[in-house]
């Protein structure tokens, strides 16, 4: 029997992976299409939306605050000590604010949400599939898209920008704390520098990105959850896929979105 070499196996593996990628891409596309077609029709489950905003947004708040605070503090520390020898300490507020508002705020908040919420959504929906609860929703004449997908997608779209805004504030507060205690910067100076040097575009870029990131988190999570087929083992796999896919989409998407927003910046 001929042994397989890397030249024969890699194309096959690549082909399979590419096929799977296209299937998942198509599946997510179909899910988005169903979302838009069903959101326009009655009924709309407002109470489910509120419940999801609480679970996705409010319950993520402590995690986001800790992440934002430590990120802001670490950045101020690194910039401060790094720029000290060049006499660049006064630039720390501007650098920390700009990085948090444009990049770290939306990216870190979204990654945290992908881990916490993406995993939760995929495993919850996957478990509902395994225990036939999704079938029961359909058998009782209602739509899983309306009851399960729409509230989660909308809740994520509403919650993530708010969480990013909170992250922006808390992150800068972290920078201010380190600026005052470690770098010896005056808090009023720090705050004034943040406010004077940050413009509306910095805020808009971060919040704009968060809308895309919300979709990157919640759509794969719902898709992988709904496509669990064979028992509880697949629930775990779906959860992993949801988190990995969401995180990769955020990190890769961040580059392209940054590029896109820079183009907008130049126009404006």
């Amino acid at each position: 029997m001929k042994s397989k070499t890397w030249t024969t196996t890699i194309p096959d593996d690549f082909k399979k992976s590419f096929e799977a990628f296209l299937i998942h891409l198509g599946g997510c596309g179909l899910l988005i299409k169903k979302f838009f077609s069903e959101i326009r029709t009655k009924p709309f489950y407002f109470s489910l939306l509120v419940e999801q905003i609480y679970l996705i947004g409010v319950k993520s708040l402590p995690l986001i605050i800790i992440t934002a605070l430590s990120t802001g503090m670490v950045m101020a520390l690194q910039y401060g000590f790094g720029l000290e020898k060049f006499g660049g300490k006064p630039y720390v507020p501007r650098l920390v604010a700009s990085t948090i508002l444009r990049e770290m705020g939306p990216v870190f908040t979204s990654l945290m949400l992908a881990a916490r919420v993406g995993a939760g959504i995929a495993s919850e929906i996957g478990s509902m599939v395994v225990t036939q609860q999704i079938d029961a929703i359909r058998a009782l004449g209602t739509s899983p898209i309306k009851r399960i997908v729409i509230p989660r997608v909308l809740a994520c779209l509403i919650s993530l920008p708010i969480l990013v805004a909170i992250c922006d504030v808390v992150g800068n507060l972290g920078g201010l704390i380190v600026g005052y205690y470690e770098l010896g910067l005056d808090p009023q100076f720090y705050l004034r520098r943040v406010l004077d040097t940050s413009n509306i575009q910095d805020y808009a870029v971060g919040l704009g990105k968060s809308v895309f990131f919300a979709i990157f988190i919640v759509v794969p999570a719902c898709y992988f959850g709904l496509n669990v087929k064979n028992g509880t083992k697949e629930v775990g796999l779906a959860t992993t896929k949801a988190v990995v896919t969401g995180s990769l989409l955020i990190l890769i998407g961040d580059f392209f979105l940054s590029k896109l927003f820079w183009i907008f910046d130049k126009w404006m």
Binding site: T131, Q133, A136, G141, T142
Partner: protein, 243 residues
Amino acid sequence: MDVIQIKNFKKSFGTNLVHDGVTFDVKKGECLGLVGGSGAGKSVILRSLIGLEQADSGSILINSVDITHMSEKELVEIRKKIAYVFQNGALFDSMTVFDNLAYSLRAHTQLNESQIDDRISVQLDEFGLLSAKLLYPSELSGGMQKRIGLARAIMLGPDIILYDEPTAGLDPYNTIKIQELILRMKSKGVTSILVTHDMPTGIAVCDRFVFLQNKVISEDGQTEELLNKPDSLINQFIKGQIV
């Protein structure tokens, strides 16, 4: 009059052909037992009857309406008239028993909360489960979950009930309770299909049996007639001579 008609139904999953031309019908008010070995595809037929699975070919007629190619939206009206009792109840574990039962009433009727409450209390009382009203499914025994599953399925007063192994894994007390509930629904003139391996229950409630074997219906007859025929597939199945 035939309420359910399945004609030349074919279904496969990937390369695995499960049904290769299944044909049978169910008359109004009749309780049909759908029997066959494990993995014969009995549940697939039930799921297809309510549109949870799509047939590859053939037709499924409910009250002379072909549902085979209906969209999810079109199936909603059909599903209001067909109750599906899942093998494990399939109760929504994030909701109480009350909310599980209220689910279809809230979705498909204009009843206010107090009317819903009244109707659910009556239903639970009939099922002997009034004390479980505010409990969550995880707080119920398997038998209670199945009975609640049945209660939820019939909240809208269906014309047809599809039972997917309603007595599997139950103790004799709960099995008899389920049998009584099936007979009660039958006495109200509801048409039903019972998928089961529990032959005493099947014999107690079914007017007729069809036997699913080798991807098609191999035997079809009235319960008495089949039981009196020593070499019938049903008798062989009961004796464990075939799967």
